[in-house]
């Protein structure tokens, strides 16, 4: 049966769009199916969502040619301060400081708002002739056989491809239909996410406070604005989310003190239940999973999108090399190369963030003392600190070329 497209991507979020561009760039024809109407995706209104892009993710955007579109609206992260704290007391005196001056690569990462990233990706896809965007439609069925996969869309239309890639999020229907199960657990913690405006400058400093209920991150946005990721137990988060904006701010303010001056809301308020899930396999016959469809990690280190873009870079590289040697890129041994590359790395990250969270999200006096001493100790050892900075910037591990900012 003749193929309509080399590769079909289910899900047109940030990962799906970046993957479509990466694959088109190495010569594949790509169709990307997304249920969201185009007008909603291109909205310029700030909804309060932002991402902490690791340096490697920024390099990927650079390699895909879309970084210049977002650079003007990106806030470099120049320093990260990590401290232990309790709501009433503010941060403890033991502070772990990471400064970009300690690594040679420049800023440790960038804060970018969802609206700018989304807009830049959409624009790049519009001008990529090898990418066919199919909006306001979803994939409702997939039928794999020896030579390809036939996908049925919600309109009833069918498309034939050599490979189906699920970028369709944590409840990935692509994974379910492929018979891939997930393992994981819920933390009974929920992240409250919002953007705030504040009186004083943030100086490009990202703060992470470890509170007994969970971490609180203050991430610098352009201007006197910051993105807040505030973790509470699920019951407490539900209560806070029901508060009026003024009461919400009143609850937030004492948690990190007044170093930014008076604060106000600068966008919508969101909640995200925290969970850790890992797909039992990242690939099946003529099927691969990317991003949250494959793994959802505790967002404690802001690694969700960064981990997804690592998948994008690794999968694009595996498929590009496979294409150049004339292999059928949907065949199982090709897809296994992607799984071998990413699944171990992902499982390690999941385990590390989980351990970190369990260690810090409690009010045990002994652990608290140990943490404070530990943070002080890390701070006094330059080489250990430099390694942690490189880890946070995504500069460690077996890096796919796109994450090094190089073409595949």
């Amino acid at each position: 049966m003749k193929r309509d497209t080399d590769i079909l991507i289910a899900g047109g979020g940030l990962n799906g769009s970046a993957l479509a561009l990466a694959l088109a760039g190495v010569g594949f024809s790509v169709s990307i199916v997304d249920p969201v109407p185009p007008a909603d995706k291109r909205s310029d209104e700030f909804d309060g969502r932002g991402y902490a892009l690791a340096l490697t993710s920024q390099r990927l955007l650079q390699a895909l040619g879309i970084w210049p579109e977002v650079a003007g609206d990106a806030q470099p992260i120049l320093q990260i301060k990590v401290s232990d704290g309790r709501a009433s007391e503010g941060a403890s005196p033991f502070v772990l400081e990471f400064d970009h001056g300690e690594i040679e690569e420049g800023p440790m990462g960038y804060m970018v708002e969802d609206r700018y990233l989304r807009r830049a990706l959409m624009k790049a896809m519009d001008s990529a002739s090898a990418v066919t965007q199919i909006n306001s439609e979803s994939v409702v069925a997939q039928d794999v056989d020896a030579s390809g996969v036939t996908v049925t869309l919600s309109s009833g239309r069918t498309l034939r491809a050599g490979l189906l890639i699920g970028c369709d999020g944590r409840n990935s229907a692509t994974a379910t239909r492929a018979g891939i199960k997930r393992t994981g657990w819920n933390y009974d913690q929920t992240a409250l996410v919002c953007a705030i405006g504040h009186q004083k400058a943030h100086d490009g400093i990202a703060h992470q406070f470890f509170m007994p209920s969970g971490p609180l991150a203050i991430l610098p946005l352009p201007g006197n604005r910051s993105s807040i990721v505030w973790t509470e137990t699920t019951a407490e988060a539900a209560r806070i989310q029901r508060l009026s904006d003024d009461e919400y701010l009143a609850a937030l303010q004492p948690r990190f003190g007044d170093f930014l001056g008076p604060i106000e809301l600068a966008g919508q308020r969101f909640t995200y239940p925290l969970e850790l899930t890992l797909a039992d396999a990242f690939v099946a016959d003529r099927t691969a999973l990317v991003g949250d469809a494959a793994h959802r990690v505790h967002p404690i280190a802001g690694q969700g999108l960064n981990a997804g873009l690592k998948d994008v870079a690794a999968l694009a590289e595996v498929l590009a090399l496979s294409r150049r040697r004339g292999e059928d890129v949907g065949q199982s041994d090709v897809l296994m190369r992607y799984q071998r590359w990413r699944r171990f790395d992902t499982a390690s990250l999941a385990l590390a963030t989980d351990t970190f969270n369990r260690l810090f999200s409690n009010d045990n006096g002994i652990l608290r003392l140990g943490r404070d001493l530990g943070l002080g100790l890390v701070n006094s050892l330059p080489s250990l600190r430099r390694n942690l900075i490189r880890e946070a910037a995504g500069l460690t591990g077996d890096l796919p070329k796109l994450l090094q900012g190089r073409p595949i």
Binding site: R324, R325, G326, D333
Partner: protein, 248 residues
């Protein structure tokens, strides 16, 4: 057989016929070949691209090239070459491999001319190719010099042959026969006859004797930690590959 004169040892053909149906299962009996395949393809693609000035990052880089895959089996090399745009003929002395390869190529939407024949028969018929792929065959033929001479005749002037085989030394005996056939059970016992293995220098001498100019040789090395094969400049102690060209 389409010809009375061929150098294929009948006992060898039967061994591979018994294995033919499993060709395309990456976890089946041909798993070792599937594991080696990306490495051999990388080598072949790089050599062909360099010789004919093609860009592998482009679309259909081998368009206009006529390539012969000798001992094509189920088409593990023929299909990638066709996918890269080459006009491919796959030849195999084992009759049963031909329908297996044909069925699979049709499934993959590829046009490949698969034939139950030998290098000698094709040379006699005056067939000419830009490149001849001669991978893991020479250690199975009864008369290597006669066989390689036939391969040389099949090349157009300026054409290129990639030829891989197994070295002959105590290590290759341990790895290819004791290791692959008895310990790992990657291959059926008796797949290889160690006395037919050829050292790289012997192969270069053979290639020169039949009028080819050897230009490159590299090792295929298995890494048990990464569980995959890679190319080596230095280690040709077991599996190795050579490129030679027919002077224009």
């Amino acid at each position: 057989m389409q010809t009375a004169t061929n150098t294929v040892d009948p006992a060898e053909i039967e061994k591979f016929q018994a294995m033919a149906a499993e060709w395309w299962n990456p976890n089946g009996k041909f798993k070792p070949l599937h594991m080696l395949n990306p490495c051999r393809l990388d080598y072949i693609c790089a050599q062909v691209a360099a010789e004919f000035g093609r860009d592998l990052t482009g679309t259909l880089p081998f368009k206009g090239l006529r390539i012969l895959d000798i001992g094509c089996g189920g088409g593990l090399l023929s299909e990638p070459m066709a996918r890269l745009g080459a006009e491919v003929m796959g030849a195999d002395a084992a009759e049963r491999n031909i329908p297996v390869a044909q069925v699979h190529a049709a499934e993959s939407g590829l046009e490949i001319d698969y034939r139950h024949t030998t290098a000698e028969a094709l040379a006699e018929a005056g067939e000419q190719f830009d490149a001849v792929l001669n991978m893991e065959v020479v250690e199975h033929v009864a008369d290597p010099l006669a066989y390689l001479t036939a391969c040389q005749k099949l090349l157009k002037p300026g054409g290129l042959m990639v030829c891989s085989t197994i070295n002959r030394n105590p290590k290759s005996f341990m790895m290819a026969i004791v290791g692959a056939e008895f310990v790992m059970r990657w291959l059926p016992k008796g797949t290889h006859d160690w006395s037919k293995f050829i050292t790289p220098d012997e192969l270069f001498d053979l290639l020169k004797s039949c009028g080819l100019e050897p230009v490159d040789r590299k090792g295929f090395v298995f890494n048990p930690i990464q569980w995959s094969w890679s190319l080596s400049e230095r280690d040709l102690s077991v599996n190795y590959v050579t490129t030679s060209v027919k002077p224009a």
